[in-house]
Symmetry: C2
Subunit: 216 residues, 2 copies
DNA sequence: TCCAGGACCTACTGATGAGTAGGCTACGGG
DNA sequence: CCCGTAGCCTACTCATCAGTAGGTCCTGGA
């Protein structure tokens, strides 16, 4: 701890590579989520991250690589959050319920992560979307598996359950976006609305029925 | 018909403004749907349209204006298609059913229109998305009104029906995208899958029940 | 104490692409 | 037959931004 540490700030500090990489990724997620892939400039990311542009290229590579790294990190966190949240040994409705709640909890806590995942990555047709679509595909498969286990031995065709899983995931995404504009609604409430829609169905809701979780 | 019409082709022909505007908009929709807003270049649009770049600026204005014009035209067609397709005097389930079918018919017939509307316009945070979000909002309001009329006098809160409308629209969008990758599935089938999901609910489907239209 | 290597920067290049200046040509009305 | 105007183009300008060259400075080990 030399004496002139704070009066001549030698920039800020020299930091190990991992720390810088985290800072850069954090900044990139923010900037990408605000402006989208194309409108986000490497200059702005470097500025937000508090490093110079060549550092980004040295550590994370080109713009596409950087974006892919963001997607990978955020998508992993999301998948992990859901996997940790869902009760795999519970009956189907509780599995869906806990999965939905974990999903919305993540979105509520990591709004920027969600924006960069849903809004930005989905719309870019490039090599990222493969990365991202893979993750989305895993989520869909998860739901699909749930449907198949539930509806098995019934004559429901394979494509039907897959399509319904796609629809369900899309409903969740859309509702998550809506929720960002209505932050006063509690997470549990949003989740229960979607749960009622897809589990009970509008037909039942019209008749006044409603699904409620069996505990808590 | 002068003699040198085909040997010295005087370009192609001089065409009235409306025709050129249509050609330009058609080309713009194609290019925007393929590359997205930012990656689409005015040069490529002009090339596809078969006119020079200054014509686009003379007729349709700047890039943002052009994109907004595309969105406006395509969104109007979609809204119109649904409005024409839905049976406003039918019971709720048939209203939903006819609306869904009209929606999927449009998507099947106008794939590029759908892509530019859903994929591209949604992801750009600019002034277009206002235009587009307005249209999407109209669709949501339509569904919301249907839910409200159905579930009226029940204690369902306003925000719940709105949120469910949002989820339903999102499910439709997601499923429409999926359908683009599975064109062998008939339109009626896709529509019925979504109808079953949101009207019957997974709970009923698990029990083997299914909703079928009451006619043809 | 010296030096190797890694953290970090300024200041550039080169390409791409939006938008425009300034024209030329055909057609229809006088 | 002439000319105003509307259709149409070539050939630029200029800004932005991804990506890089080539360096400085610090730290930790020999």
């Amino acid at each position: 701890m030399s004496v002139d540490e704070q009066r001549r700030p030698t920039r800020v500090k020299r930091l190990p590579r991992e720390v810088r990489e985290r800072q850069i990724l954090d900044a990139a997620v923010r900037v990408f989520s605000q402006h989208g892939y194309h409108s986000a400039s490497m200059d702005e990311i470097s500025e937000v991250a508090g490093v110079s542009k060549p550092m980004i290229y040295a550590y994370l590579g080109h713009k596409e690589d950087l974006f892919a790294a963001c997607i990978r990190r955020e998508a992993s966190l999301l998948v992990e959050a859901i996997a940790n949240g869902v009760q795999a040994d519970a009956p189907p409705d509780m599995q869906l319920w806990t999965g939905l709640r974990a999903f919305f909890r993540f979105v509520g806590a990591q709004k920027e992560s969600w924006r960069v995942l849903h809004r930005q990555a989905t719309s870019q047709g490039g090599p990222f979307s493969e990365e991202l679509m893979g993750m989305r595909g895993r989520a869909i498969s998860l739901v699909d598996a749930l449907l198949v286990r539930s509806a098995t031995s019934r004559g429901v065709p394979t494509k039907a359950t897959e399509a319904m899983a796609v629809a369900l995931v899309g409903a969740g995404e859309s509702l998550a976006d809506w929720w960002l504009d209505h932050p006063d609604v509690p997470e549990k409430t949003v989740a229960s609305w979607l749960m009622n829609l897809v589990w009970m169905g509008l037909g039942d809701l019209v008749d006044g029925a409603a699904w409620v979780p069996t505990e808590g």
